[in-house]
């Protein structure tokens, strides 16, 4: 018979891939997941899906999944299978031993945006209430930490001002450093729908992305700027808006700080930001800058969507502020169809950001130094809390190398592959005495771990995710955890073993605790999500079912007004020279997700079996490079090998790759430069040279790293 089997059960849950937060019905037959069907009532996807969420779920049952806890005394030893109790007790005793010997602050944790809100909240509680310090960071450090900083500074909250559907009211859509049709495909489809209805599209991106130019999606204006010149170009757009008086004076007077606006006008209005000055520096036509400014300011509804192409720079936070300034100056905030919206890479980056996975703030971005806030947590948790901000992730690695930081709990992250300057990270990992990794696979970081706690995939647990549109969606258990426990249960075990008794009957009680201690989540509960499906924060007594559009009446700042930040352009010190004449920038492809841990274990690899280096024909020609040649790519930090793909998507002087495959080692090349405010790494700009390589070696060498490794051996 060619009739398909009929699933016998279904559970509505949330996709764990990108930050769009699509709702799916996971259908099972005799206890096994047989398909994922996009849920029509999902507020983000309205029944649509992409190749990742719809089809690439089989990783959950992959033979590589770890099913038993593992420990070893030294990373030279083989792994030893142990019981849960033994693994947890070993991790707890090691952490306590290290703290006794090296002090309270000698350990810390990193949590993951692939975990639920409940798990993220618990990990920071583990650090603050049990370890007794603030050494907690999360992977948003390396992607959207500048969003949190830059948007808070201008409009008050580091979060998308809109819901995704708002784009259907936009007349001008400005995409900066993002490629939604590849990175956020379901939102990309919504955007294309609006473009087919006649909205204009502006793209600011070094690469002629699929968003700029594909069969049924064409940008009206594309600024193919040189990587690293975002702030200069955005300031230049502001220059035109100021000089041509395209700003919305009524909005600014009513809703913003007028004096700050005048100061800002003085900066961006100065001659040094004129398109005729900036254009040549950024490699774009000055007239195009003017057209973008007029189109954006003209609206009537203009909406900004941006991605890591804005944040992952040494001026990442400044770039985000530029976007906030622009929207405020043109009155493009506080209603549907406008706004400033980060497109978040991982399913729960917004949740990770909101829920206190930062060394300096509790949930709701409230400072650990604030005694009043601290006492509310101390009251609930029953222990005194540290008032000194902790270490950021890169600082944890630095401190590990200098011997001050010796133990780390890593939940669902792979810093060895995903963090910049890989050799530095490896040396730091090697210098620690106890690295406890909770993950579903043995990832690259596992090579340097002492305890491996087998985690559960999002299909195996209860909880919630907060998507890029601030929407809290329920994650529901479809199948039993392969290794026996949901991730939050494992963290609870560790907390208990470290001497902090705590108990939750189910994950909903953790969300209740979050609601109790975080103003924006005050009204959230499993009951509410059960009843209305999902809710966008802020959700409280004033907005019992959540808030779609932010800033409609005032901005969440002390005086209720938006403000303008001074965004002077300071070029990165990572520059091309004779030895490294090309600029490497990185991005994503539709079929693969992030470092590929999940998607590489599915048939999605049929579309993207390997990362390649896109290079313009002109640059290839002078180097004797042909399509498909193996290349050796070297930067000031390391060397790696990739195959060449001659492409018109990049301009001469620019090369581009993705980082989905571990063997590509793209992050061997990237620098250790980072955002001045948040330490978000400058992944998007690396000076490199490219030469033809003899064959496929994909091995790595770097003098700098070898030296580092020697010092820590």
């Amino acid at each position: 018979m060619a009739n398909p089997i009929k699933p016998d059960r279904s559970v509505v849950t949330t996709c764990a891939y990108c930050g769009v937060g699509c709702s799916f019905k996971a259908e099972t037959y005799q206890g096994k997941i047989v398909r994922m069907i996009p849920w029509k009532e999902g507020k983000a996807n309205h029944g649509h899906s992409c190749v990742k969420g719809r089809f690439a779920y089989d990783y959950y049952n992959h033979p590589d999944r770890i099913r038993t806890p593992l420990i070893r005394k030294s990373i030279e030893d083989p792994w030893q299978e142990v019981s849960w109790d033994e693994a947890i007790d070993y991790a707890a005793s090691e952490f306590k031993r290290i703290q006794d010997k090296h002090g309270k602050k000698s350990i810390g944790a990193v949590s993951s945006s692939r975990c639920t809100n409940e798990e993220i909240f618990l990990v920071q509680k583990l650090v603050r209430a049990v370890m007794g310090n603030n050494n907690i960071d999360n992977c948003a450090r390396i992607c959207h930490s500048p969003t949190q900083f830059g948007m808070s500074a201008t409009v008050g909250w580091g979060a998308a001002s809109q819901h995704f559907d708002s784009i259907l009211q936009a007349n001008v859509i400005m995409v900066v450093g993002a490629n939604p049709t590849e990175g956020h495909p379901v939102f990309g489809s919504l955007m294309k729908r609006r473009i087919r209805e006649g909205a204009k599209l502006i793209v600011i991106d070094p690469r002629r992305t699929e968003t700029v130019d594909s069969a049924h999606c064409k940008a009206t204006l594309h600024l193919a700027l040189r990587p690293g010149t975002n702030v200069a170009v955005l300031d230049s757009i502001s220059h035109v808006i100021v000089r041509e008086k395209l700003y919305n004076e009524q909005f600014i007077r009513a809703r913003c700080e007028w004096e700050e606006f005048e100061v800002w006008m003085g900066l961006v209005g100065s001659d040094r930001y004129a398109p005729e000055v900036i254009g040549p520096q950024a490699g774009i036509d000055p007239e195009a800058i003017r057209q973008v400014a007029r189109m954006y300011a003209g609206g009537p509804n203009s909406a900004i969507y941006y991605g890591l192409g804005v944040t992952e720079h040494s001026q990442g936070s400044t770039g985000v502020m530029c976007l906030g300034n622009l929207a405020l100056a043109c009155g493009m905030l506080g209603r549907e169809g406008v706004g400033v919206n980060p497109l978040r890479g991982q399913g729960n980056v917004q949740g990770g950001s909101c829920l206190g996975s930062w060394p300096h703030v509790f949930s709701g971005y409230r400072f650990v130094t604030d005694p009043e806030v601290r006492s509310s947590f101390e009251g609930d948790w029953g222990v005194p809390l540290d008032d000194e901000p902790g270490l950021r992730l890169p600082n944890m690695f630095d401190a590990a190398l200098s011997g001050h930081f010796r133990g780390m709990f890593i939940m669902g992250e792979d810093p060895v592959q995903s963090d910049p300057n890989q050799h530095h990270v490896i040396a730091a990992m090697k210098s620690m005495e106890c690295v406890v990794l909770q993950d579903i696979f043995l990832n690259e970081t596992a090579k340097y771990a002492h305890v491996l706690l087998p985690g559960s995939s999002s299909l195996e647990k209860e909880g919630s995710f907060t998507s890029a549109e601030r929407r809290v969606n329920r994650v529901r258990k479809v199948v039993e955890p392969l290794a026996g426990y949901q991730d939050w249960e494992i963290v609870v075990k560790l907390m208990n073993a470290m001497g902090y008794p705590v108990h939750y009957d189910h994950a909903g009680e953790i969300l209740d605790e979050i609601a109790r201690l975080s103003p924006a989540y005050k009204g959230m509960s499993f009951d509410l999500l059960e009843r209305i499906g999902s809710a966008q924060w802020p959700c409280d007594e004033n907005a019992p079912e959540g808030t779609e559009v932010l800033h409609t009446v005032k901005f969440p700042r002390a005086n209720g007004r938006g403000t303008f930040m001074l965004t002077e352009y300071v070029p990165t010190i990572e520059r091309t020279n004779d030895r490294y004449p090309l600029l490497l920038t990185t991005g994503r492809i539709l079929s693969q997700y992030n470092v590929g841990t999940q998607t590489r274990r599915t048939a999605n690899s049929m579309w993207h079996p390997e990362d390649v280096l896109e290079i313009n024909a002109e640059d290839a020609h002078v180097r004797g490079i042909k399509d498909g040649d193996w290349l050796s790519i070297s930067s000031r930090f390391g060397v790696t090998q990739l195959k060449a793909k001659l492409s018109k998507r990049v301009n001469p002087g620019i090369v581009y790759t993705t980082f989905h495959h571990a063997k590509s080692k793209a992050n061997v090349l990237t620098s250790d430069l980072s955002d001045w405010a948040t330490n978000c790494p400058e992944y998007k700009v690396t000076a490199v040279e490219v030469v033809k390589a003899a064959a496929d070696t994909q091995t790595v060498s770097s003098r700098k790293i070898e030296a580092l490794e020697e010092t820590t051996a």
């Binding site: 009532e41 309205h46 190749v51 294309k192 079929s591």
Partner: protein, 238 residues
């Protein structure tokens, strides 16, 4: 566009997208129902709890009017208009069930069945099967003539397959690829009896522009486009 996306319901297919407009009242089989102007008769009937049988219509896609199953009678109008492409008007009186309508729908469905794999008529659970059941049709009176039962199955995509033997050329897949995904990878090639769903000229699904979003599979009413994961041990005809 606005209301269209946001008023979707999991367990009800209104047949055509919800609209936002001033309210219009009509009666469907004697039941009065209020719907926004611009709504289809099909949507109004669904709101009145009178589901009209349908194949090419679904509330995530614009109406198309090709399957001829959703015919209704409207007081004061001649013939049997398709309820998916007919818009409501104030005071309209619609009949969705009559002997004549039943006979017309049966005739159309029998024709579809005459070119559907015989062994799969029983035991299926697709929208097509549900519509057959709704209209009380389980067989057809036709001799075996020209048919599409031997057309090759496209199994190039790792996740789903396309079996032209089950395709009724309703164009829902083509429209989903355009309207929902915005990729425009699919088309209907040739005309009349020869017409078939194609992923571009001489391209398999995998070689085509298809981005494997699954929108076509999701909307296919006959499971001609279907997830491979629903077949243990691979797909086999007959």
């Amino acid at each position: 566009m606005w209301a269209e996306l946001r008023d979707l319901r999991e367990n009800i297919d209104f047949g055509t997208p919800p609209r936002s407009g001033t309210e219009v009242t009509i009666t469907v089989d004697g039941v009065a129902v209020k719907v926004p102007s611009g709504s289809s008769v099909m949507l109004a009937a669904a709101k009145a709890g009178k589901n009209v049988p349908k194949l090419c219509a679904t509330d995530t896609l614009e109406p198309f009017g090709s399957c001829r199953v959703c015919l209704v009678e409207i007081e004061g109008r001649r013939g049997y208009p398709a309820s998916c492409t007919t818009l409501v008007e104030e005071g309209m009186a619609v009949t969705t069930q009559s002997d004549k309508l039943q006979a017309l729908r049966k005739g159309v469905l029998e024709l579809y069945l005459s070119d559907f794999p015989e062994q799969d008529i029983e035991g299926g659970w697709s929208e097509f099967h549900n519509t057959l059941q709704q209209c009380g049709v389980s067989s057809h009176p036709y001799e075996k003539g020209d048919h599409h039962q031997d057309a090759p199955v496209d199994e190039s995509n790792p996740y789903f397959l396309f079996d032209p033997a089950k395709c009724i050329v309703c164009s829902r897949c083509v429209r989903a690829c355009e309207e929902i995904q915005g990729t425009f990878a699919l088309t209907i090639s040739a005309r009349g009896f020869e017409s078939e769903v194609a992923a571009g000229p001489n391209h398999s699904f995998f070689e085509s522009e298809c981005v494997s979003c699954g929108a076509c599979v999701q909307t296919c009413p006959t499971q001609a486009l279907v997830e491979k994961s629903l077949f243990e041990g691979g797909y086999q005809r007959g």
